[in-house]
Amino acid sequence: MPTAPPPGFEKIKPALNEFESQLKQVHHANTSRIAAKKDEKLWEILKINNERSRYIFNLFYKRKAISRELYEWLLKNRLADRQLIAKWKKKGYEKLCCLKCIQRRETNHGNVCICRIPRAHLLEKDSNTFRQCNNCGCHGCSSTD
């Protein structure tokens, strides 16, 4: 049952609408036929999800611009990713791009995604070839980057 938004929602509505329209654009865009590019739509969606969650996270924790009631309402209505925000509060996960990238079980060797590795580390090993990760198109989301 959708409930009426708590007070204060009006102020953040334009930004949320903007995110919404971005999502719609991605939804209506054509998927590329090139195999290497077929995931890019998903990446775009995950990126928008990340940005929107970050926005609400900042609104509540950094700017203190919205009430807890509104914040809870936003989380409940899936306007922000509750699980992702929960990770951001943990040390070392402050910039986490998406949840799949830390899902060790889904990888062959039980590792996290390459985007979690600090850039300096990658450069040390070999003159870096990593550009974007496969899960969400992240360019690197280590806390030290």
């Binding site: 930004a15 903007e18 929107r52 900042n58 950094k62 700017r63 203190k64």
Partner: protein, 453 residues
Amino acid sequence: MAPVWRVYAAPDGRKYYYNAVTKHSTWYKPESFNEIDENREVKRFKKIESKPHVALELYHSWYLIICDTGKKFYYNAESNESIWNLPDEASRKLIDTLERNKLVALVGLARGYSFGGLHVYDELVADLASLKQESEAKRLAEGGATSEKNEKEIKEESKDQGQDQDQAFEGDTDGKKGLVTGYSSSSDDEVEVEDGKPQSILAIESIEDPINTPEDKKALWNLFTRYELNPYSAWPFEMKRIRDHPDFCRVLDDSVKEDVFEEWCAHTISGGLNETRLEEHFDEEEEKEEEEDLEPTRFHYLAQIVSKSTITSTTIFMDIRNENKSLFKKYNIKDFISSKKDQESFVSKLLYYYKRMTLEERKEAFIQLLEQNRKTIEENLFDDIGNVRNCLCQEVDTNDSYAVETKLFKMEKFIGLWRNLSNLMEEPKYYILGIREKMLELDNYLKMYVELQ
């Protein structure tokens, strides 16, 4: 094709118009302002400021100086002359024998690229020293060095210089004797060379790192304000509105920009109440000036908590603590009074007054306490009477808790609470009022006093 008339600003800021053909200037906008001279080409000069960056010692007190624009010239420490082409044979040969790659790397270093690392300079200095020793030994052995030089390289070098020269001079300076335009402005290097300590010059100014200075952040901050960004909107959208502005690029790191934006939003939303706090954030120096050394007394906040809590005849310390747990944390009571026992004993003393006296009675008791110390207060006020007057004249909005507190701290300082009246600081009676009441009472008391004078 260039316009005939040009607009310049006079030293006093007024605009004047200059005719490039007749070389005539006027204050008023001429009718033929839009005329175009077809014979002249538009010249766009790029003004390049260059400063000496690295110095290498050669023979006969000649130095090879490399500027931070990558130009090089030669400087003689004895005759104090600087020229583009090296006249000294021995020095020229020395340069030729140096590894060309290293020289190139050094020029790059001077220009701010760090591919060679900072060691290039050290290496070159070491090479120079060893080469000098070698040639010295040779000279001793053979009685003079054979002159064989790589003419090609020299030609190349002079060609390079020629090009560089063109860049630096705006086409009209004398190329022979001329020195870099920016050179005279940085005399410190020169002085060092004259001191005969070229080694200490090293790579001199550190290569500029993209450090985010407070000014850059402040510029970004002001940019947000100027563009009236929406503090309730998201960074990706707001960023698009200002990203073409040069100030936007002053802070390089994206995440830093975002942090500044978040801070700005928080500040704007809270209505600029804590403006001073955020100013401090940028300028640590300002902080020192603004804050002076106003600090709360040991029991200040604890007393404030007690004054805010509900007190019945059966209230004890634990009740107050449980009721105001968040306040205890917020005011860092632990940092002021570390032991819980002290906290408890102080609170119970306060509770004694709170339970037995009404607000009016407490106010009276407070005034009485001040009266008891009248003499010391008098003396202390007298020391700084001008400031006291100033402070008392400022009316404070009693709803602005920050201002109220600041004024209270100021007055506490004036009556000498931190000097010879420090016994008052430990006196529970001094804390029987809340911050606001205490400020008002103290204010009234001191005002009465100052007027009596």
